[in-house]
Symmetry: C2
Subunit: 487 residues, 2 copies
Amino acid sequence: MAGKNDKTGKVLTMETLNPNIKIMQYAVRGPIVARATQLEKELEKGAKKHFEKVVRANIGDCHATGQKPMTFIRQVVALCTYPDLLMKNPDFPADAKEHAKKLLAGCKGGSIGSYSASSGIDVIRKDIAAYITNRDGHPSDPEDIHLSTGASDGIKSILSLVLTGKLGKDRAGIMIPVPQYPLYTAAIAEFNAFAIPYYLDEDNHWGLDLKELKRAIDTARPECKPRAIVVINPGNPTGQVLTRENIEGIIKFAKQERLFILADEVYQHNVYAAGSKFFSFKKILMELGAGYNNMELASFMSASKGFMGECGYRGGYCEVLNLDPDVKLQYLKSISAKLCPPISGQIVIDVVVSPPKPDDPSYKLFQEEKTEVLSQLAKKAALVTKTFNSIEGVKCNEVQGAMYAFPRIFLPEKAIQAAKEKNQSPDSFYCFQLLEETGICTVPGSGFGEKPGTYHFRTTILPPLAEIEKLLKTFSEFHLKFMKQYK
Amino acid sequence: MAGKNDKTGKVLTMETLNPNIKIMQYAVRGPIVARATQLEKELEKGAKKHFEKVVRANIGDCHATGQKPMTFIRQVVALCTYPDLLMKNPDFPADAKEHAKKLLAGCKGGSIGSYSASSGIDVIRKDIAAYITNRDGHPSDPEDIHLSTGASDGIKSILSLVLTGKLGKDRAGIMIPVPQYPLYTAAIAEFNAFAIPYYLDEDNHWGLDLKELKRAIDTARPECKPRAIVVINPGNPTGQVLTRENIEGIIKFAKQERLFILADEVYQHNVYAAGSKFFSFKKILMELGAGYNNMELASFMSASKGFMGECGYRGGYCEVLNLDPDVKLQYLKSISAKLCPPISGQIVIDVVVSPPKPDDPSYKLFQEEKTEVLSQLAKKAALVTKTFNSIEGVKCNEVQGAMYAFPRIFLPEKAIQAAKEKNQSPDSFYCFQLLEETGICTVPGSGFGEKPGTYHFRTTILPPLAEIEKLLKTFSEFHLKFMKQYK
């Protein structure tokens, strides 16, 4: 509470601000994105640049890059929003109307303007449980399903349970992959918990090496109380799809170390590579049988990713298994103060988990639209992988799933020095130059974490195929020029 | 980490669970509401009770109790949801179409399925600033407007800024009214901050007595670092509307004690009593002039209350004034990890702040619907006040605004003893009996806080007039019977 506070008369200065907010970072919307926004505004005002528009490859924002909404999803949401359409409008298919009526019957007063229960609308929780049961071949209980405001909100609610309320060495330790989706480090900073990084194995398709998990937890133990492990599968930003064996190993590790498992499975629909298959942690936990099938696990899903990409609705849910009954009551209490997740986001989730069936009028269109999105993504995943690997000084693991490539860039010593002089990480330096020269906005690997001495960036594979082709060409030219400049 | 943990094998037990979650309470969805839900399920299964249905007077959930959505709001949201309707459907009025087109132009890719900036869609921030400028007669800057997932989310984001990251006597102290809306105590518990209760003056229309503010902060100072003051106006659960003089006094107090002001103004449209008028803290701050108009203030608004009552959309915003520029950047970073508030909630907010104008085709209907809701609420506010005061052993301040009555009940000693034997607060005991006997679900005053030795409950004034009349009659009979029983 030093001089500055007194001079400005402000309650909040950089000295008095919550220190956990100060250390928190969220690279996906970090400084490079702020610069991209600035460039866009300059272009709007007629400024001359080397490029005509900024390509926002920094965030998995599907519709922003041209993906069209799924017709059936939007029809159901529109009908629930304005139920007059149920009567007045003959253009809506009968199954959309039926679906809307079923959901409205689950809303208090028949309006999506009412609050739902904090865990979500009952009929939607049942539909989600049926989807999971069908996906895994193991029963799912609607009472274990809790809707959330996007997956992020659900993740934070679960993370907050394992906190210790203590500081220093008594803080909760949360194991997170590196590279990771920066929501985790942001939440851990905000909660004043302790991040235990475990490195994914870049040389082995970003798989999890069990020895590395052991090393990570043993190293961190003097610093914190390890309580939970986060696994992102399919991987963000790394795009790998974990094998069944890998998941088994992780579950056994968590059991041995007594860790709560947080399985971030929001990309479960986004699996492209031949030979890759999504296995949920729930399924493997159940199939490992006694001794494992009573472990605490939370699995997260989102309306923002998959084939629907409805980011703006902030729909999500988690399935939370095997909580101690008293702890479960406490969890329910803790989410009750948030009242409820947005109802329209809940509706989007419902359509995703209970889409039109083969005999329904909307089935064909729904399948066509879904297949189109996913097959385009698969093409782009393959093209991006291939192109990056064809460029000197770039190496990229196969994009097996999710929506991102995370290529490694081998930067010359002179570039690393130049970055140091600008007080930037080498990959930030590289990504900022890429943005300034080409308008392509990516996120530096340092925002996700990486092994010391390695450099990466994350790009989405979302823009339409023709644009991705152009982007890769532009990128390639930039890269070669950059390498030459700093040779 | 005692025996129980070892026996169950669980990571989370009542011993290891985050202690801040354990102490957190949120009465509006507390045990009495759980019992109400149970009773509803029993009734559904054909159980015989003294009543036919549960009346949920516990929560300000407008549409759940029969209020109809505003036509124009839902038309605009439906058009944004399913833009085919812009072309195909002639039933939508031209101004709804124009409004939807304007908002879609503000969405990336023209879809409400895209993320917006974390502070919300630019054009909506501008509309909100224009609304505030017009309301107060003082300019509002769109850069100070930040949309949120309901008001609760915005409140928590601001509260998190003033935390100290420390424990014990170094915790941040937050002044809150008592009685208060329990979101505040819930958030303070979760954040491990320190609540500094100041009592509202029941004998003076629940006004704020400045001497009481001083007493409260002086008492708390050895226990915490006072950083902020929360004021709820119009009051929840207390229904008072603060006078201009009262607001001036609070601002001066905050200045003297160097406190960040959080003004919960979500009921700003809900003012009923003759002679009562809503003044925003922003307006008074500006009009107090130099020395005050640079104070830090956050004012909160919601789509859930007012005449629209769109709780399920989780729309809200705050106007945050006079942040230190560096702190503002940190605040923006802190909300960026949440990505963005739901777009459909943002749209609802936009319509509320920029409704149809006198020459627009939807103007007449919009005004009729709005006036109908607010005039009915005014009637119910007057009726509820009058009826409660006509019952022996009940005393109720005038419901000047908001959506609740918070009558004081004078309970006989025998009832207080009976409650003690059941390990309940006397007003919980009373409210549970009211629920079991009549199906009326209210919230005990102890869930909001009250002066020791006084007892209250909160009821909404939302059910339709005929239902409220019936409810008051049923209540009255219950109360007299209860008083007789425990005399």
